[in-house]
Symmetry: C2
Amino acid sequence: MRNLTLLTDLYELTMGQGYFNEGRHEEIAVFDVFFRPHDLITYSVAAGMEQVAEYLENLHFSEDDLAYLRSLGCFSEDFLAYLAALRFTGDVTAVREGEIVFPYEPILSVKAPMIQAQLVETAILTFVNHQTLIATKAAKIVDAAGGGVMEFGLRRAQGADAGIYGARAAMIGGCVGTSNVYAGKLFSIPVSGTMAHSWVMNFESELEAFRAYARSFPDNCLLLVDTYDTLRSGVPHAIEVFKELRAAGHEPKGIRLDSGDLAYLSKKARKMLDAAGFENAVICASGDLDEYSISSLKEQGAKIDSWGVGTKLITSADLPALGGVYKLAAVFENGREIPKIKLSDTTEKITNPGEKEVYRIYDESGMAAADYIVRKGETVDEGSPLELFHPVETWKRMTLERFHARNLREPLVEGGKAVREKLPLSAHAERFRAEKAKFWEEYTRRDLPHIYKVDLSPALHALKTEMVRRGKGN
Amino acid sequence: MRNLTLLTDLYELTMGQGYFNEGRHEEIAVFDVFFRPHDLITYSVAAGMEQVAEYLENLHFSEDDLAYLRSLGCFSEDFLAYLAALRFTGDVTAVREGEIVFPYEPILSVKAPMIQAQLVETAILTFVNHQTLIATKAAKIVDAAGGGVMEFGLRRAQGADAGIYGARAAMIGGCVGTSNVYAGKLFSIPVSGTMAHSWVMNFESELEAFRAYARSFPDNCLLLVDTYDTLRSGVPHAIEVFKELRAAGHEPKGIRLDSGDLAYLSKKARKMLDAAGFENAVICASGDLDEYSISSLKEQGAKIDSWGVGTKLITSADLPALGGVYKLAAVFENGREIPKIKLSDTTEKITNPGEKEVYRIYDESGMAAADYIVRKGETVDEGSPLELFHPVETWKRMTLERFHARNLREPLVEGGKAVREKLPLSAHAERFRAEKAKFWEEYTRRDLPHIYKVDLSPALHALKTEMVRRGKGN
């Protein structure tokens, strides 16, 4: 495992030196990770928590790391000695991977000695921002396609990790496989792939290229038909080879279209395949796809069975970063919580102070009605009616007589030890799938969705209002 | 070093099995990496070659990798045994890092046994696409700022590698430092960083937070002044602490603005600092910056000395992937070159066949006049006039009487061994800076630039035209 302890912004360490000098480095602090809203995000699919837990459990400065920090000339020897022995000893509470989450909710909270909590900010944000981004994009694309989406983006990913962990996140968002062999091995993801244009160019003729491939993969023969001319050359040659395969007792897999007018070509190719008796041969499409082009192709009646989605999935091209932040919520003095708040002229940028929990409120029919952020220790009594109100426009109110409340967060790390069982990706994907079924489509649709409510408990709202009124951070 | 041998698309391996079965896996092939044009790209800054060389030199399948491939059930035992012994034995020719490059130019070519050349496609594209993308984005941002740009994006990067190698690429594009400590150590990049809002929130008052920081860093005191109210609280408190510092014999560094109207705030803060006698205190700005917002701030007369650029740099937010491709250019039969071409109905998608070299043609004044792609082995005679013509609109012609021609590419890997001296990043950054000075600003400006010519030699043009006429791939 790579030692990523230095994967942090320098200011985490300069602040560490400062707290160390002030004798405040072991005061307990609580930081929350949450997202700010964005027009392109209806809901997010949380991911990356497994990497956070691994990173925290493995946190330690090597001799080499310390020598490098010493070379910067801004750290004291006693501080470096302290870092040499430093391990992460705190607690992390977080939503499960695959959980549907919304802006402002603390999806992950770190409670740890100040110096540790500060040091781990950057890497936690990197892992959670990235994987949540890609899981969310995958969910949008899978939603448009209705399934059958393969992640094909490694060559356009922003570095190796973006490809590897992007493939992981894409599976949580509902993809069915990846082209990325490294990710396939690391996370037991189904891998797929057949041939590139270079294969076809490398034989005397397209027909000979197809025959050669069929010789090697008679039972898994999926042919790329657009190297020269899809309808006049590619599909007829594929059908010729499919007939030879069938005569030899093998059933062909299908074809892949990688360019051109995919709606037109897929409809024509479908007819040609059907007419030749290959109704079961699938048509895969690839080439610059995303949720918008897939929606459009489906509206045009494209006959496409599976989708290879690359660049725009693996980079989340229309929104290549989530604005996940890590904000101080509380410090503890002699075990007593001192809530903290970040003020701002922009109301939406004011943070929610104190230690918190997040509940999802389901109505009588079992559908999600709202998320509900409470102060830690508050109970949500399912026996009494629950009044929800908008955190800013407080006159907007709704009362639920009967409901079920589920705490969205569970321990991830306790006393520095990862405490969650490592589940297969399919379990996270299934969690997402099952939870999404509990949301009215009005809340999850891509275009002009209803805004799902994320409300505060009266106690949290009162605390926040009082702190804003006082006008300073504590 | 991580073994990234499996960092490949599955189809590279299925094609490998196919070539192996056909007995053609050791035929020599040449593949070119080049970019297609994009409206947002005036020129690109090549980067990532060092990682390509490391990866190729280290290429080998571990026992574990082979066990995984066996488990997929689509590879033969004799093929897996062949992979077990496989190393990269080919040659790679590439531009240097920091070189300015344009669409269609083969910036990197691989000449290797077919199975190797195919296997390494994906990872080479991942490294070169990513780092060239970020170096190019950094160049645009640095161009707008006129210097003083620090890379601050790790927390929004698409995974750890995106942050680490993104910081590396940003330095090649002209950034002066990074917040990323891991990248700082790995590539000897200057690191910078001071404090977050959480530091300020964590003291009884902003003034006390600033004083505490000044106690720890009296000679490197840069204060974040926007936690509560920049002009009424942050800057006055900073000035108070700066005076205390100066009285104690220390000169303060400056302030950082991270939100609000940076033009207005920086002008007001500058006046306040100057009036208090801190004319040398710098003003750093950060917060959702990119080349467009920086240009706008400068036009408004913002008094900003240095720029911390995060999300939009590290993700290249308006164009998060370069469409770099890897296309078959030739195969060799008994040492004889068989040029290969990828045809397409879209003229711009037709590839340039055969082994090639790329020359940059400088005019008498030493300024870049055009790039000139030739067949390998062609010489460019500086003693005779050179006639350049547009590769499609061939009636557009220009003759240079006197010129200098420089081969843009040099060996990167020979016989599987990395042959380039590993240079400090500053050498690549300097190569870019020096070369950019040889381009008229009309060619490199961001908005509506003149299109720099990338022309073909008559011999290459004739080969291409003939192959297109024949209408198949060879």
